[in-house]
Symmetry: C2
Subunit: 380 residues, 2 copies
């Protein structure tokens, strides 16, 4: 047996208490027990989103919430500005196009953060105010880059456009303040930093966004947030929700509230710093220039394909790392450190990397990466 | 403590082995272990759907699969014929309207099956062949009625229209033959007769439906079945699926295949017959005239509101029964017997009903309903 370690950027490892919460007796989604669960999850999520607005719970992948955002605030033929900074920035553009929205893009080199001034310029050029919304990715998991939502929010707030943020990655592990940063729509999902299984997505909208929603003309039914708002009044969802996944998320949120937001965020910051110190000590190149605290992306030596290295690690060390997506396919290896993650997860990943590089004939000082990580961990 | 019994028509009770399957270590949705799970679930579901076509796995409520059916085979401005035989027949009409489809309805009195000849007449009137699809509900859980899909299928097959069937309720508990009955689109979900938690829906399409799908113009991204078909080639889904719910469904299907389809169907038939014999013995009125084997709907005595009776049973006996929906609100009580159900579940429901009726001052011979059920169960 090779013991297995899941270190992909979503789904992330699920603590046993969270996983087992799914096994409780099934309940009706129209009864008191469910109402309590709904209330706890939706109000606790507000803390992480940084909003006083309601949070709606969707049964679906993160992408379902991205589509809900598009369908509820856009109308066919309208214009939207998309910050295309990675695979999930492209996804914004694809969904918008599927709904007949005209996409204007701010294209950012993969691995870099967008300069918020570029967004300001594009909005300033739009003197007729035709751009109805700006779509951004908080952390694009494909590039590991975190965008400056606060600054972009300040810029968009001075226009009539809405700011829509895909926070599937990053939220729950990094400071995020929807209301303070002037974000109009924030969405995320259960399976990354919230360390619950995939299957629940969630979304919150500002009053500015709700006004647009009332007149938005994209067809929608399952993802019609007006229905979710109506049913939320009695702490229910319009359709049968993923009750057991929601219970897992409820348990995750309990554990997270026990740890406290500030502690969670600083833990992730430390994991990120330790991982980066370690890979740097191993002379591996970091991919993004503005890396988020939830994953570290490395470019392996040119002599070895990223997927070959990843496969070798999975097969021989039992550690599943993430591969590159789209234009980064076979060019990078993604080490996730989000959610249920501690120092020894980082040590495990780095140790596996050291072993694999040595196996493949690279000159590597065994333990050098681990030592660099330990140096960070011993900081108080 | 009042011990709890869930007897609502979805979610239904989840066997412990199925519930605990969710607690296994999380895995990547892009790896070999997931591929095996995907393959097992999607190929095993074919047996219950009665098709040789691929079955696609969606992360969502049953309604998400209904919407997928609409968005993938219809275009705005086209005409569709809907058999409106209950709450979920109405839902077909609502989703179609949300997508700009012109709805023609065959309205059926709630509690009755549609006369397939009415469908034939409406299609015959459509000499220009403008009706592109007929939307039917296999078992409308709101009325407990089963529709004659085989006969409707024969009628629709003689036209260019597609036959789309919502089989969320009924499939997995009753004989269903998509290919043989000429059904073009069949959809269902995990949380009823498949006795898994809610969160996974699934859908299968005929080649006739796939041809229409290629040119259908409703906007779709998350529910775009062309993407699901493409990703299914490598046993994956386009977006991160509800891995743990899928594992539960995998375990359910294992248990169901062990029992065998014929045995499952005859077990449900017996449960239905026993429940009906029991409520008849208690002089309660059955609601639908063509009842499906998955639930029994009763109309309580006029002197007591259905919801009052239901609440009394929930509070004092711990048995959660279903209430009436839409026009049947507070008029009926729904006793589900689908999925993980055996004789003693029926006995429990009937015993609770007997006790509650006596509590409320009705003249009821205690044990009379139970005896009638036992008579059925002792048949070999």
């Amino acid at each position: 047996m090779v013991k297995k370690y899941l270190m992909t950027p979503g789904p992330t490892p699920v603590p046993a208490a969270v996983a087992c919460a799914q096994a409780a007796d099934m309940i009706s989604h129209r009864g008191r027990e469910f109402h309590e669960l709904f209330q706890y999850v939706s109000t606790t999520l507000r803390e992480f989103i940084g909003t006083t607005r309601e949070v709606y719970l969707l049964t679906g992948s993160g992408t379902s919430a991205m589509e809900a955002a598009v369908a509820n605030v856009m109308s066919p033929g309208e214009k939207a500005l998309v910050v295309r900074s990675g695979h999930f920035g492209n996804r914004w553009a694809e969904i918008l196009k599927a709904y007949g929205v005209m996409v204007r893009a701010v294209d950012v080199e993969w691995g870099r953060a967008v300069n918020p001034k570029l967004v300001a310029e594009r909005l300033a050029e739009d003197t007729a105010g035709e751009i109805r919304a700006v779509f951004v990715t908080f952390v694009d998991t494909s590039t590991g880059v975190v965008q400056n939502i606060e600054e972009i929010g300040g810029i968009v707030a001075e226009t009539n456009a809405l700011l829509v943020v895909d926070a599937v990655s990053g939220l729950g592990a990094m400071d995020y303040r929807m209301d303070e940063w002037n974000v109009d729509v924030t969405l995320s999902a259960s399976q990354k930093s919230f360390m619950a299984p995939p299957g629940i997505a969630f979304i919150s909208m500002s009053s500015k966004a709700w006004k647009v929603c009332e007149r938005a003309k994209c067809p929608r039914y399952y993802l019609d947030l007006r229905k979710y708002r109506q049913w939320a009044e009695k702490f229910e969802t319009p359709c049968t929700p993923a009750v057991s996944t929601l219970r897992a998320l409820g348990k995750s949120l309990e554990l997270m509230m026990e740890e406290g937001l500030a502690n969670i965020y600083s833990r992730h910051e430390k994991m990120a710093r330790a991982t980066r110190a370690a890979v740097t000590a191993l002379a591996l190149r970091l991919f993004p220039l503005n890396p988020a605290n939830v994953l570290t992306i490395i470019r392996p030596p040119d002599e070895i394909g990223a997927d070959e290295l990843r496969d070798h690690i999975a097969r021989n060390y039992g550690v599943t790392l993430g591969g590159g997506q789209a234009q980064l396919k076979n060019r990078v290896v993604r080490i996730a450190h989000m959610g249920s993650v501690g120092p020894f997860d980082v040590i495990t990943a780095i140790s596996a990397l050291e072993g694999a590089l040595a196996d493949k004939g690279f000159v590597v000082e065994l333990g050098a990466g681990v030592a660099a990580a330990e140096e960070i961990f011993k900081e108080t």
